[in-house]
Amino acid sequence: MTFWEMVDTYWLYYLVGRYPEGPLGGLALTLLLASAGLALAIPLGLLLGLARVSPWRWLSGPVTLLVYVVRGTPLLMVVFWAYFFLPSVTHVKTDQFTTMLLALVLFDGVYLAEIVRAGIQGLPRGQVEAARSLGLSYIETLRFVVLPQALRHMLPSLVNQFVTTIKDTSLGYIIGLTEVSQVATQINTLVFVFPTQIYLILGLTYFILCFGLSRVAFWLERRLAQRNSTSVKTQP
């Protein structure tokens, strides 16, 4: 089998797995997992981050504990928890996709929460004081004054975390999820003679995804910066 014969035979399998006859897999599954993970982790991260900076101890305390536990644990361990521990509690066998998704959302949510916290606490104290002295409530101050500014400052760190999420989907391999790394390994086992090429293609695939996302973010950042600069230049 030549290299091009291999490409001709397996390209569709690489892209979508055994879909539509069998379950979805390959690159499509990786994309689905990454986007679903981010879509759920962003609101979770925002909520956890707000909880962490909230003045109410009963709320910030437990969330801080969660952040420390998850941050002090490898993602692989979180995946194992979700895979082995979760079914023993719920008595429902979660499928591999859901398992991986849950682990990713929890892990990313915690990291995003720390980014949100840093973004909020990085704002000058006077911004909150000015808003509160006008009579805006804590929530109104967050929504109309703090978050619009903080989110803009957070953008580079957020993108960093998004890129990490895309790459982290590859850990689904370990619990037998047929995402693109698993599929590449399967193809390698079947074909056997082109390991270098196969894993180069796999690496290139991740690179294109992450690079593309970085460019989109860069473009977004520039557009926001053009509209107005958030630093008040005349302040000492």
Partner: protein, 247 residues
């Protein structure tokens, strides 16, 4: 209008306000001055509860403002506060800075809020900068927008915390001009400032503070021409000839 009764405040071990007893009447313009660290900023920050107090009472129109259960947001919306560092919201235009609070708190429609805010920007001489972002304005312009933003809530009382101290010298005049016209219109104002010309022009009273205490209170003329307390004399000498060598 405002009464301080035996107010004490500590930052940890450090006592920032010592037994403050003071009354400020409706329509009065009071200037608070004193060396840095004397507690003057702390004093006016306790009036809208940006700083808590540890003992004593502050009454606004007879109501204890540091009691728990006070509707803090409602209460603060009746006091305008102008900061040394302006603290405009950098992601909003000058106009939006002035419409945010009235729209949220008074439930004004955008049209009505903009109209009212434009009138205020006109009053501080910045109607033509309504769509500019704070980063596009000079320091003096930013501070004038900040005054307009505070006025937008139609507060009966305005507090100024060293409003001209962060400004380049040539911009001080334009801000004082706005404050002068406010004072002449009968606004109750408490201004922490070292602008002696301003104090002589419009202040009804000057309070001199040092080490958390009000050491002297007098009419501007009496205070500037014939200060009683030695510390006040020293202070006035220092700010008049700032770089004189100590002999």
């Amino acid at each position: 209008m405002i009464r301080f009764e035996n107010v004490n405040k500590w930052f940890g071990d450090y006592q920032a306000l010592v037994n403050i007893n003071e009354t400020i009447r409706q329509g009065e313009v009071v200037v608070v001055c004193g060396p840095s660290g004397s507690g003057k900023s702390t004093l006016i920050r306790t009036i809208n509860r940006l700083e808590p107090i540890q003992s004593g009472r502050i009454l606004l129109n007879g109501e204890d403002i540091h009691r728990s259960g006070l509707n803090l947001n409602e209460f603060r919306s009746h006091i305008g506060f102008v900061f040394q560092q302006f603290n405009l919201f950098p992601h909003l235009t000058a106009l939006q800075n002035c419409t945010l609070a009235p729209m949220r708190l008074h439930g004004l429609k955008p049209g009505a809020a903009s109209k009212a805010a434009m009138a205020l920007l006109e009053r501080v001489g910045l109607a033509h900068k309504a769509d500019a972002y704070p980063s596009e304005l000079s320091g003096g312009q930013q501070q004038r927008v900040a005054i307009a933003r505070a006025l937008a809530m139609q507060p009966p009382l305005m507090l100024f915390d060293e409003p001209t101290s962060a400004l380049d010298p040539e911009m001080v005049g334009e801000v004082l001009q706005v404050m002068r016209s406010l004072a002449r219109e009968g606004m109750t104002m408490i201004c922490v400032t070292h602008e002696m010309g301003f104090a002589r022009d419009v202040a009804d009273r000057v309070l001199f503070m040092d080490a958390g205490q009000v050491l002297e209170e007098a009419s501007p003329d009496t205070f500037f021409l014939d200060p009683k307390h030695p510390r006040a004399r020293q202070f006035l000498a220092d700010i008049r000839i700032p770089f004189s060598p100590t002999l």
